[in-house]
Every structure is written in structure tokens, then in C-alpha cells.
């Protein structure tokens, strides 16, 4: 009779192993959800309110956790520093590097005088780590001065934001300014450009997850659809424009799971109503 006992014990072991695996899965899932909460809270922090304009940002990770990043930093001189970025890769590894990038931005934002200086300092701070981790980050960094309407920007390998002219209702990319991604080369000195923004002008920052969002047929959302959506909605508030773009993407993708995170930041000039 006892001949069958070992078989029964083996079965028990299989069940035990399965329970251990189930518990590990649950623990991992719980930790991923906690990590997601941390990331979403850091991303969706306080949006600055200031006289002379309005800003908003939103990010939709393709997986539970994403590698896109945006941030606002109100400087003591009254300017608003904005950063939008995309970390190489996806999921948890990209999220860890996103936190590293956020930390570097927050540390150097107040002690650097311009967007180009911010990127130069960030590359200085992050280069060794990114090189060791075989990764890189593309970023666009910009300052908006609500008092003068001057918008200054620099790029570290990130595509340029769209500029929507509130007067003649045209959309174009901001004038080109070049710069290599953070982690690409050491000792980089970034360049910057400035433009004068006028009443109702909009700057639309975004990551490639928007224009590369795919529907079930594998077609991409593309820049043309984004431009059309912005033209149809540019007279609204930044919150309404942001929702219109997100709705348009969702209508196009029809619930198809996306490969890349979707992130946008809007800056709209409204200086007249605030007396500038």
C-alpha cells in the first residue's frame, strides 16, 4: 500500500510549487501596481498656474508602466521650465530610467539659466549611468516667460514641438535646433532658439507614441491627423484640447493595445486677460 505514497508526495510538491508560483505572481503584480501608482503620482503632480498662460500635460503608458516623462518647474524668476522626454525601451526598465531623468531635471532646473544649460548639465549628470546601462533619453526642454511671451527651447535628440499660431491659425514645427540625446556623447554643449509668442499661440510638445499610434490594420495616426485635430480645437482651453487629441487617438486606435507610451504637453498664451 505504501508503494503509492511517493507518487502522492510528488503530487503534493507540484501543488506546493504551483502555490509558490501563484504567490510570487501576486506579489509581483502588487509591486508593479505600486510602482505604477508611484510613477503616475510623480507624472501627474501639480500643474503650475501662472498669469500669462496655461499649461497641461498627460501621459498614457502602453504597458502598466511607461518610459515617457514630462515635468513643469516654475523658476523663481517667473519663467516656467517645461521638459518632455522619452526613455529608451519600455516597461519597468524604462520607468526606472525615467525616475533617474526626473531626478536630474529637478536637481539642475533651478541652478541652470536656460533650457540649453539644463540639458548640458543633465547630460553631464546622466552620461556615465546611461552609458553603463546601455540606454539613452531624448528630451526637449523649454522656458516660457509669461511677462515677455518669449519661448526658448533646446533639444536633446527629441523631435520639435508644434507651434500653432493663434492669429493666422497655422501649424508648423518650431525652427530647428539640434542636439544629441542624453547619454549619446559626453561633454555636449546644447544650443537653444527663442521665438516670440503672441496671444492664443500654442506650443504642443509630444512623444512619438502619438503619431505612431496604430489601429487594427496597422495604420499609424500620423502627424496629419494630429495637425487636423489641433486645428479643429485650438480655440479651446488646454484641457479641452488635450482631451480632444486623446479622444481622436482613441477613436482611431479603437482599443488596439499600443506599443509606445502616449504623452503630450500644451502651453497656451493668454496674456491679455491677465493684464500683460
Amino acid at each position: 500500500m505504501y508503494k503509492y505514497r511517493p507518487t502522492f508526495t510528488q503530487r503534493e510538491r507540484v501543488i506546493d510549487n504551483q502555490q509558490i508560483m501563484d504567490n510570487m505572481d501576486k506579489t509581483l503584480q502588487r509591486e508593479i501596481n505600486l510602482a505604477r501608482n508611484i510613477q503616475m503620482q510623480l507624472l501627474n503632480g501639480k500643474t503650475p498656474e501662472f498669469e500669462g498662460g496655461e499649461v497641461i500635460g498627460s501621459s498614457l503608458p502602453a504597458r502598466l508602466i511607461g518610459g515617457d516623462y514630462y515635468d513643469f518647474y516654475p523658476l523663481v524668476n517667473g519663467k516656467i521650465r517645461i521638459v518632455v522626454g522619452d526613455v529608451m525601451g519600455k516597461g519597468i526598465p524604462a520607468a526606472m530610467l525615467m525616475i533617474l531623468t526626473r531626478d536630474a531635471f529637478r536637481r539642475v532646473a533651478e541652478i541652470t539659466d536656460s533650457p540649453a544649460e539644463t540639458l548640458t548639465s543633465m547630460n553631464q549628470a546622466l552620461y556615465e549611468d546611461l552609458r553603463t546601462l546601455k540606454s539613452f533619453v531624448t528630451l526637449i526642454c523649454a522656458d516660457y516667460d509669461p511677462k515677455t511671451g518669449i519661448f526658448t527651447y533646446a533639444s536633446a535628440g527629441h523631435h520639435l514641438p508644434l507651434y500653432i499660431n493663434g492669429r493666422d491659425k497655422t501649424i508648423k514645427e518650431l525652427p530647428k535646433v539640434s542636439g544629441i540625446m542624453l547619454g549619446g556623447l559626453p561633454d555636449q554643449v546644447y544650443k537653444e532658439m527663442s521665438i516670440q509668442l503672441d496671444e492664443q499661440d500654442i506650443i504642443f510638445f509630444y512623444t512619438d507614441g502619438i503619431v505612431e499610434a496604430q489601429n487594427k490594420d496597422g495604420e499609424q495616426y500620423k502627424l496629419e491627423r494630429l495637425v487636423q485635430t489641433l486645428l479643429e480645437n485650438h480655440e479651446k482651453s488646454v484641457g479641452e484640447i488635450e482631451r480632444s487629441v486623446m479622444d481622436s487617438i482613441h477613436q482611431f486606435t479603437q482599443g488596439v493595445p499600443q506599443k509606445d507610451d502616449i504623452t503630450m504637453v500644451l502651453l497656451k498664451v493668454s496674456r491679455q486677460k491677465n493684464g500683460y
Binding site: D86, M88, K134, F136
Partner: protein, 75 residues
């Protein structure tokens, strides 16, 4: 969505012709070829048949450049 790599060796030159999609799901294929670059002097990536590359794919090409620099291989 797949990646195929056609490998050619001409003397001390290794040519990797990459076709298809170079993204997070396929970069390991390139990594395996980069283990074989110890005895070459020039590394060439032919990306003319590449259909799509994501940031992880760009990172892999960058790493190939870094690796080549460490091993004094031109690219």
C-alpha cells in the same frame, strides 16, 4: 513582425544586412552577432531593408558603435 540578419564576411570586414523590424522584441538577434566581432577591423550595418526601428533598436546600434570603439573597430 520579425528580423532577419544576413551576415557577410569580406576579409576583416563584417557586414550585417538587417531586414524587418528592429525593436524591443528582436534586438537580441543583433546582440548575438555582436559577440562575433573580436577578429574584424570594420563593422558595417546595412539598414536599407529595415522597415521599423524603435528606441531599443537605436540603442542596439549605438551599443554596436561603442563596442566597436572599445575594440578599435571602424564602423
Amino acid at each position: 513582425m520579425s528580423l532577419t540578419v544576413n551576415k557577410k564576411v569580406k576579409g576583416k570586414t563584417l557586414i550585417l544586412k538587417v531586414k524587418g523590424v528592429l525593436d524591443i522584441s528582436t534586438v537580441h538577434v543583433i546582440a548575438s552577432y555582436l559577440k562575433e566581432i573580436d577578429h574584424i577591423e570594420t563593422l558595417i550595418f546595412d539598414l536599407s531593408d529595415l522597415e521599423l526601428i524603435d528606441s531599443t533598436g537605436i540603442g542596439t546600434i549605438l551599443n554596436a558603435i561603442y563596442l566597436s570603439q572599445e575594440k578599435h573597430i571602424s564602423n
